[in-house]
Amino acid sequence: MITEAVQERENYLNASHGIKSWLLTKDHKRIALLYLHTITFFFFLGGIFATLIRLQLLTPKGGLVSADTYSKLFTLHGVIMIFFFLIPSIPATLGNFFLPMMIGARDLAFPRINLLSWYLLVIGGCFAMYAMLAGGVDTGWTFYVPYSSNYSNTYVIATGLGIFIAGFSSILTGLNFIVTVHRMRAPGMTWFRLPLFVWSNYATALIQVLGTPVIAITLVLLICERTLHIGIFDPARGGDPVLFQHLFWFYSHPAVYIMVLPGLGVISELVSVFSKKPVFGYKVVAFSSVAIAVLGFLVWGHHMFVSGQSVYAALVFSFLSYFVAIPSAIKVFNWTATLHGGSISYATPMLYAFGFIGLFTVGGLTGLFVACLGVDVHVHDTYFVIAHFHYIMVGGTIMAYLGGLHYWWPKMSGRMYPEGWAKLSALIIYLGFNLTFFPQFILGYLGMPRRYWTYPDEFQVLHVMSTAGASVLAVGYLMPLIYFMWSLRYGPIAGPNPWGATGLEWRTASPPPAHNFEETPVVTTDAYDYAALAAMEEAKVG
């Protein structure tokens, strides 16, 4: 459908035709679009589960679905959203499309491996879908043993295999990005001229490479435990279920940063472009991404404060957790400072950026509550935690993802999206999100435990608010789906650089040619040098 949009000039979309030219493509831009379709599918699938969960919780006694189904719903919601949407979301679509372009490369270092990553995600997704259709899985996305190993009668193995395979997709994407950033930069593109989106994707890639193998081995052990009864986590044989939690969170905490770091990179781009100013404290922001990636590996035990972990280990993990707060805070302060004295546009991507900063701030600050030992004992495994991580992942990652999608849409498709509708949907999403998740902070502090099929009557008011918010949110998410598709045919033609942005991706046509650039670009200025851009435009006109 996209191919019909722009026909005058050869670009990556019309360079070749037919289903085979897509399924066997090595072009990072086409692979990014394959990912885009795949994760959009998983996003709405996970969204359907979320909707059913919220509808069930409308009344204290529920009754929409059975307890068994409910357990499967929240498990699949978590599994699909985390492993098949959030983790690939920004790196595999926007990162895949723009990281090579931003550094002036013709493609990623390993184009075939890039395509393989997409296939692995799809195959992993098929396993998860099989588990879903065959009868579901009910362990929670955390797969805690011994429930998942010895007690659950659901499709744990198929789901585990799905995540295992999708994990390799993530590893290979990360590996590809690291090598590409190190070895494929255009002449003159030094490390400190890299756009911050590249820095944050690089930091993300480090986590993908260093963390994901650990979840892989954890799942292998879980699958062995279920099939061969090897007993590594079996308490009856002296096995320790807490060991599983260490292995699980060694990956799954840094995985939070796999999900949010690329979003932080998107926001740095948006804040700069739409205020026409270089990001305040560029180097500090760049290093803070790497710092988050590194420190993110030292804090996993804060998911285990009440798990039977030693109090001294809890002490260490709480202490280290506060260190992650600093680079995150630095980013927020620097974005705010970037706005000072800028030329601030209210284009849709910027609205998403504003929304992101607000929600990420709330998510981050409530993170201080759960990192705080004395408070976490009370709020752990309650709706407070649910609200906290949705503020980071939905309020953070998805806002950034949508912001980035709007920002780069003209480059990807060659067409502009309808600005009015886009602004409206951004507003609806922001309001719907807050109405859905803010009440959950209060619910959690009141003691509402997570993963409950029914609940005491006194919690109903807050649950009703949350469900109402979720329906608003659903409308907000459906709107972009519709108007993006509309814009492919009817959107105004976008020029090569509709936003007046400085990145190399804007120096080539929209949509870009198959090899990105007519000539390998030579970089002579820092990222976000708007004065140089203006001078260049002037020279071109003159």
């Binding site: 002296g238 279920p241 009440v306 600093i326 805070a329 400072a337 030992l373 408070v375 435990p449």
Partner: protein, 330 residues
């Protein structure tokens, strides 16, 4: 229903207020920073809105002093949170010496609670107000979690070992007990009530329907399983160690390591006898896995504990912590 919508849960234990005070501090910091950021962004967005497409603002690249300022101030605040949170956490983690012992067994999907005096309860816990209560907990199957929001305490209940939580109720009343670690389909139904009673009401409640104390049930089991055939309680040499006056002490193992003779060690020695054998004895004790229930194990533990008089037990708390740390280093 809407009119009495609470924003904070009831404070019904000695630690509840201290947790809430910490939360007030965190809230103040969170509100200060989020409102500050919101207002600044809003102000900048209006003040510096784009007036023409061609305008080019002056580039500012950053300032080290500002960066340092907004790194150091949050860092200082987070360190306050850490220290304060850790001190509350240690209070929550360390039961006072005078705490009354209650045993908890979690299973899919119910709570079984046992009082020392022998009363057993299911999904209900009756305790007197003003008396610290220490729960020693284990699970028969998967991981559960004992959570009483009004007390602000929570601890996972694990299969294969013991975990502890404690609270000192300060207000008579009826409070929610939740399982807060997902444990399967009926996780939502693994709930109950904690009844905090006036002491005299509690005494009245206690006097009804007990079948003998935990320790006395344990003694009966000790005889049924003929434990005394090897574990002579008379001082005469036996094939197993004399179990008197051992609880709370460090015992030396065959391989030279030391282990604390506590609930977990007694449990392991009943179910996995050869895992840690006391120096001077052979690994000949048979396992009782499958012969005893988790309840039986608790009764035996309570009996074995009763073989060590209260005054012979090393005090819990700081001194014991240091001594065991020393031995851990050896």
């Amino acid at each position: 229903m809407g009119s009495d919508l609470p924003l904070f849960p009831v404070q019904a234990s000695s630690v509840a207020a201290s947790v809430d005070h910490l939360v007030y501090f965190l809230l103040a910091v969170a509100v200060f920073f989020s409102v500050g950021i919101f207002l600044t962004i809003f102000y900048f967005a209006v003040r510096y809105r784009r007036r023409s497409e061609s305008e080019l603002p002056v580039a500012s690249h950053g300032g080290m002093s500002l960066e340092i300022l907004w790194s150091v101030i949050p860092f200082g605040l987070t360190m306050i949170m850490f220290v304060w949170g850790a001190s509350v956490f240690f209070t929550i983690s360390r039961p006072p010496d005078d705490a009354q012992q209650i045993y908890v067994i979690g299973k899919q999907w119910m709570w079984k609670l046992q009082h020392m005096e022998g009363q057993r309860e299911i999904n209900e816990l009756h305790i007197p107000v003003g008396q610290a209560v220490k729960l020693t907990m284990t699970s028969e199957d998967v991981i559960h979690d004992f959570f009483v929001p009004a007390f602000r305490t929570k601890a996972d209940v694990l299969p294969g070992r013991y975990t502890t939580t404690w609270f000192k109720p300060t207000r008579p009343g009826k409070y929610h007990l939740f399982c807060s670690q997902y444990c399967g389909t009926n996780h939502y139904a693994m709930i109950g009530w904690v009844y905090v009673m006036e002491p005299q009401d509690y005494q009245a409640w206690l006097s009804g329907g007990a079948t003998g104390s935990l320790a006395s049930s344990g003694e009966k089991l000790f005889q049924t399983f003929a434990c005394a055939n090897c574990h002579h309680l008379s001082g005469a040499p036996g094939r197993g160690p004399d179990l008197r006056n051992l609880y709370g002490t460090q015992v030396e193992l065959a391989d030279g390591a030391h282990v604390k003779f506590d609930e977990d060690y007694i449990r392991e020695s009943i179910l996995n006898p050869s895992a840690k054998v006391v120096k001077g004895y052979q690994p000949i004790m048979p396992t009782f896995q499958g012969l005893v229930t988790e309840e039986n194990v608790l009764q035996l533990i309570e009996y074995i504990k009763s073989l060590t008089p209260q005054e012979a037990r090393p005090p819990a708390g700081a001194t014991a912590a240091t001594s065991s740390r020393k031995s851990a280093k050896q």
